[in-house]
Amino acid sequence: MSLGSREGVPTYRRVAAFGGVYSNHLALAAAIADARSRDVDQIICLGDLGAFGPHPDKAAAILRADGIPVVRGNYDDSIARGLDDCQCGYTDARDNRYARLSYQYTYSNTSAEHRQWMGGFPSEIRFRLGDLDVLACHGSPRQTNEFLWESTTPEHFLAKIGRDYDADVILGTHTGIHWQRRWGDLAARQLEPSTEVERSGAYVNVGALGRPANDGRTDVWYALLEASGRDLAVDFVPVSYDHALLADEMRAESLPEEFVETILTGWWTTCLEILPGKERARGRL
């Protein structure tokens, strides 16, 4: 298979894409089983295998056993190279404090074999879905840890990224909340003719398996993508799993109670300061 290069990229009809595993091996196993039951041609992981949850080697072992290709996330890059921090991109002291705790735990509990494996992840994976060129990355094609939130990422910005990186569909996960936006219909907005976007496309944040989407549900999310010609269908799929068992494992590993609370309630308790106003207002804290 030639994933990771533009030459001879594979073509699929239906794929499942997920990311932000954050060591949630129970949700990962449930998501893979769910995707397989939906007759997908391929499953792709968009990176960040560690953080937040317990026993990071378990999720890595599942992905390796299933032969699922993985795009390099900022966390994988840090763990593989033994960097001092997770490169999550937080700017608030409290967020960084929790990020440090999480990173130290994950780094010290990831085997050397898995670290070496992560070092080989590509920064992007390209494939065709129907007649669409798809670029799967972690944050954005131009930066692994770029935050692309639904409320702060305009259509015309995405159109430019699509042009710059020659992609009809861009998949990402970094922010951990699923959303999608199409581009290519800006001409209707009474702009100058010269500003019309020539090529249509879509950005899809496929969601995260590692923790809930700050929506008060304990489910986590992945995305099913299917194309017929250039028509793209995107379904966000909720995944139920034994979140109470995960919480028990987290407590047994002495991970922060704030993390456990998120798993049990579906509300984020940390990493809040990086959220834009609209996304923050949907949460409880």
Partner: protein
């Protein structure tokens, strides 16, 4: 050139910097590095020029009711730049002044902007009556994009805040925040640090208490370092001769940390490299956006040093600092 710069100490109010000799200073000015615009992610608008209803003693561009050095941008001027920004692929829009709500076209300007992308307004919140807040909330609900209100409050008491922002400013700003919160906004409260570093946790706690009193329980608070230019240079101190960026300081430094690597500012008199350097004629980088996006940013101003030390403090979320992959 062998020079030692006290970066940590110089960022700390109250620590005396090392003086530079005249030849060293001359070399530093000639040697000022420059950086290209990587991408125009942030488009700023000096929407109220230098006109403000307050006259804060720490204002880095000395805005006041009488400072007409830069006049208001019209809705038409902003709309032209917005249209141009679509083809460029701008990610976020910021509005500053002066006080943006001194511009009587501000609501229309925000309507236009929120059709295209996210908007952030840097305001003192003293000109936000119920009707204005209602209009803002209504357009924010209709848009797919975030409308952020960044409110400057420089202390947790009227005594502390009004010492720099003027009598009565504290009460009016806190009332404005209360109205914004009641309408569903989560304003970002910004405070310029006028206290010692070790007092920050205490100040933050006092801010949370103050904001909770007006119903704001998800408080977003951003502490900013002082910019030692304009009125602030007289209030505390200006930059020392050594507080400037040299070419050797750029070796191994991630230039993406600097706002000018990803932003430009539209004013009524052309396009500037960043919102901080409005008073610097050398910071003008073009008469049009098209001209400005090909320009390099020359890091010759001393305020550039604060950006170097503290990151792009003007952004809501400077997010380019930590990617080493």
């Amino acid at each position: 050139m062998a020079r030692t710069l006290n970066i940590q100490g110089a960022s700390d109010p109250g620590v005396a910097p090392h003086p530079a000799s005249a030849p060293e200073l001359h070399t530093a000015l000639v040697d000022a590095p420059s950086i290209p615009l990587v991408a125009l992610d942030q488009l700023w608008f000096q929407v109220a020029g230098t006109v403000c209803n307050l006259r804060c003693s720490h204002c880095f561009i000395s805005c006041s009711p009488e400072n007409h050095s830069f006049w208001f941008l019209t809705r038409e001027q902003v709309a032209a730049a917005l249209a141009e920004s679509v083809g460029i692929g701008v990610k976020e829009y910021y509005f500053t002044g002066g006080e943006p709500f001194m511009n009587h076209e501000m609501l229309g300007i925000l309507e236009d902007t929120l059709r295209l992308g996210p908007a952030t307004v840097l305001t003192n919140a003293t000109l936000l009556p119920e009707r204005t807040v209602g209009s803002l909330a209504s357009m924010a609900r209709r848009s797919s994009y975030s409308l952020e209100l960044r409110v400057s409050i420089d202390g947790t008491t009227a005594e502390m805040n009004d010492a720099v922002r003027g009598e009565g400013a504290f009460d009016r700003a806190v009332e404005g925040v209360g109205r914004l919160v009641a309408a569903g906004f989560l304003p970002i409260i910004t405070a310029m640090q006028t206290w010692k570093d070790h007092e920050t946790p205490e100040v933050l706690e006092a801010f949370r208490g103050l904001l909770a009193d007006v119903g704001y329980h998800q408080a977003r608070i951003k502490i900013l370092p002082p910019l030692r230019i304009g009125a602030e240079a007289s209030r505390s101190r200006g930059y020392s001769d050594t507080e400037r960026i040299t070419s050797e300081m750029m070796t191994g430094f991630d230039a993406d940390l600097l706002l000018c690597s990803r932003a430009r500012l539209v004013t009524a008199q052309g396009v500037w490299v960043c919102p901080i350097l409005l008073d610097s004629p050398t910071a003008k980088v073009g008469d049009s956006l098209a001209e400005a996006i090909t320009s390099r940013a020359r890091l010759s101003e001393q305020a550039c040093y604060t950006c170097y030390v503290s990151g792009a403090i003007c952004s809501n979320m400077p997010g380019y600092a930590q990617d080493h992959s």
